[in-house]
């Protein structure tokens, strides 16, 4: 019954990366939409991922 800390850390690190990644994606998109600057026309295709 090994402890396998590596697997535990991998799982939690992955969760942290995925969740903060999605959060940052939302924040960035919101900033783009709230302050449309030149070169970022409002009709620009939504950036995925």
């Amino acid at each position: 019954m090994g402890d396998n800390w590596g697997f535990v850390l991998a799982a939690y690190a992955l969760a942290a990366i995925v969740l903060t990644g999605y959060w940052r994606h939302l924040v960035r998109r919101e900033r783009e939409l709230n302050a449309p600057v030149a070169g970022h026309p409002p009709g620009a295709p939504p950036r995925q991922q």
Binding site: M1, G2, F7, V8, V18, Y22, L26, L33, P36, P46
Partner: protein, 215 residues
């Protein structure tokens, strides 16, 4: 309001980490690796909830044609896909040291993979149709149909022989875990649920802004 939700979620996630690593004991059979459960199980519960929200919002859209219902379904599906993906990935990381494999096609893993792919398809369908009203209508139908998968995933471990073990908590009769593990799971579920609400609130607002910016 959304900001408060975000802070609440962050605090709850910290509390969840504390429960998972400091309060919950090292499990007797599996050892430390069992702590992956505190991400894996709350993720899938939140994913189930997210897809039930898609189901209800889709019916509401078909009945009322309210754009708000459509936006809620869209946002909830996206966040649900995120949590389903997290469930599959953490389950895989848990499976390797305990079962001895990252993946196997048993009924539970197969049904959850189908669930994931169906909602990815739901999001693709929305992107594929340019005409907003038609996209919303088709998506709503798919949002209702795809929900049939949820009970299939949950009961797969009872209906078929699987490598995945049956539920410990979401079942009739006493739970098969000590109360401290149940508490740690519930705290983490609450944290993930708050995070879900925060994400959906933000995503719904984005969809509204995108709609106003006009395609």
């Amino acid at each position: 309001m959304t900001r408060v939700l975000g802070w609440l979620a962050a605090l709850a996630l910290l509390a969840g980490l504390g429960m998972a690593f400091a309060v919950a004991p090292r499990e007797a059979t599996q050892g430390t690796v069992q702590r992956i459960m505190y991400v894996h199980v709350p993720s899938v519960w939140v994913a189930y909830c997210a897809f039930v929200v898609v189901f209800v919002a889709s019916i509401a859209y078909l009945a009322t044609r309210a754009e708000a219902a459509d936006r809620l379904a869209h946002a909830s599906a996206e966040v649900g896909v995120l949590f389903t993906g997290l469930t599959i990935a953490t389950g895989s990381i848990w499976g390797k040291p305990t079962w001895g494999t990252w993946w196997t096609w048993d009924a539970r893993l197969t049904s959850v993979a189908v669930l994931f792919v169906m909602y990815v398809g739901y999001l693709l369908l929305r992107g594929m149709i340019d005409e907003g009203e038609r996209a919303a209508r088709y998506a709503a139908v798919l949002g209702v149909v795809a929900a049939l998968n949820i009970p299939l995933v949950h009961f797969s471990v009872l209906w078929w022989r699987t490598l995945h073990q049956p539920p410990s908590l979401m079942k009739p009769g006493p739970s098969s875990m000590p109360p401290v593990i149940v508490r740690a799971l519930l705290v983490n579920f609450a944290a993930f649920a708050l995070l879900y609400l925060y994400f959906v609130a933000k995503r719904v607002r984005l969809l509204r802004l995108e709609g106003e910016a006009g395609a």
